[in-house]
Symmetry: C2
Subunit: 282 residues, 2 copies
């Protein structure tokens, strides 16, 4: 298997910079190095390929759903690590009818690459980001749910970050599974037949879920580790300098001062009420 | 000051959902709550406004530079926290001549909101994201450097994440300042007259810099804390569930196994060589 990976690498590297640059930062950097020609004596790619347990090349098909008012960081965190897997193809799938940029809840709009209709049928990873009102709307949209249910029926891994778990629940993918979500709706996962777990990333078989928003970075690295081995994830982690140092403690209901936590929790009350109405199919 | 903030809040909340929803997740959620009408007895906004040291409302003008092959996560991390500041306006500024989506280094393209020519002259926060070849190109582009130098001359805070510090260095903004950058080029900051600091986020006067890629989350929260007080940042941190738990140790050259670190460090050698050629103006 390592030999096969090596062969694929060599072929892809030979396709040159324009194709290579689109594949991953690793290949892009390789092309840069080749352009300068100063590394004849040390082949970083070969060195890294020799690390036990690493899978340098793959051809994963990954679909990341986008819908109006999704939370951009829920998606861009894991995207950074998914798209860094050499040879993987990441599809940004809009649930709208055309390829216009999809506006996230804070305003930032991301260009989709494909519509649900054109998205590959067989996926290695299917991913749903979260949001608030936008996520409820997506979970109540028959076309979006039909798309997600169909692709999930054959996907290698069915995944979400934040309240995206509500979409997985609505298609029935969480039944009998341990799963997590944003703290505001984590305990609602039981209504989809799941066992809620208060953990940053939860894997149960082929279902992998992350906690709220920023958990997408931990989630993304966990998925890369599953797909390509921990050394590959360690390389991505170093490239992204992922050594988080929050400026002060907090980030969970338990670690946030009550004076801040109670109002913010109340702020989510009506979103939670909307989420409570969602159900898995019979 | 708190009274003034209260007055501004009231006026903006009265403008209703469509305008309010564009401002921040807090206002968006407030509108949602108002729609359901179930919180007459508990006004989360008033409760949070009463927390000592919090500044609920502002009117910051924030400009985040985008250029071809920037690293999307460098920008989307801090964007999440900047755009969550009620009343702030975040401009996504393209260095291209039109408003077409700007493609990041991994492929994901983000819709800019404004060109450099149309960007407000007076900014509260000026921000540069990083990248590799794209960052070198931006730092060598006279129009981009002229724009950044002009806005920096009047900006409240001059900021960057990752190798975006190279752009700040090129406009002379790091002279005499303590600053950080991605580990691969951190020690080069001396060539711009800065003192490199190996720290997640570094503030020196009105210059605030973050380390590589994922440091944008720590950096974003630090800036929110500066602009709106720590309780506001704590509220954003809880909303984003920012309580990072990397799946395994790593993320810095010191904490990454040598077998992975050495090849990845070599991968950056030629980018580092390009960065070495950059200089601050005389």
């Amino acid at each position: 298997m390592m030999e096969n990976n090596g062969m694929i690498d060599r072929r892809l590297l030979l396709t040159g910079m324009s194709g290579a640059a689109a594949l991953s930062p690793f290949l892009s950097m390789q092309a840069l190095a080749a352009g300068h020609g100063s590394h004849a004596a040390y082949d970083w790619h070969e060195e890294l390929s020799n690390v036990p347990g690493i899978k340098m090349m793959g051809n994963e098909q990954i679909a990341m759903l986008m819908y109006p008012d999704f939370t951009a960081l829920d998606l861009v965190g894991p995207y950074h690590f998914f798209a860094g897997m050499m040879g993987a193809t990441v599809h940004l799938v809009t649930n709208q009818s055309d390829l216009r940029p999809v506006k996230s809840d804070l305003g930032l709009a991301i260009q989709p690459t494909i519509t649900m209709a054109d998205c590959p049928k067989d996926l290695d990873i299917l991913f749903a980001p979260g949001g608030t009102t936008g996520t409820i709307a997506a979970a109540n949209d028959p076309a979006t749910i039909a798309f997600m249910a169909d692709r999930a029926s054959r996907a290698g891994y069915i995944t979400s970050v934040c309240t995206g778990a509500l979409i997985l629940g609505t298609i029935g993918a969480l039944r009998g599974k341990r799963a997590t979500s944003h703290w505001s709706v984590r305990n609602l996962l039981g209504q989809f037949g799941a066992t809620p777990v208060d953990q940053r990333v939860v894997q149960d078989g082929n279902v992998v879920t992350g906690a709220g928003v920023s958990a997408g970075l931990d989630f993304g690295l966990a998925l890369v580790s599953i797909m390509r081995g921990q050394p590959y994830a360690a390389a991505s982690m170093l490239t992204a300098e992922y050594h988080p140092v929050p400026p002060f403690p907090g980030g969970t209901p338990e670690t946030t001062p009550k004076s801040v936590r109670d109002p913010i929790a109340a702020l989510f009350d009506d979103f939670v009420a909307s989420a409570k109405a969602l159900r898995a199919p019979e």
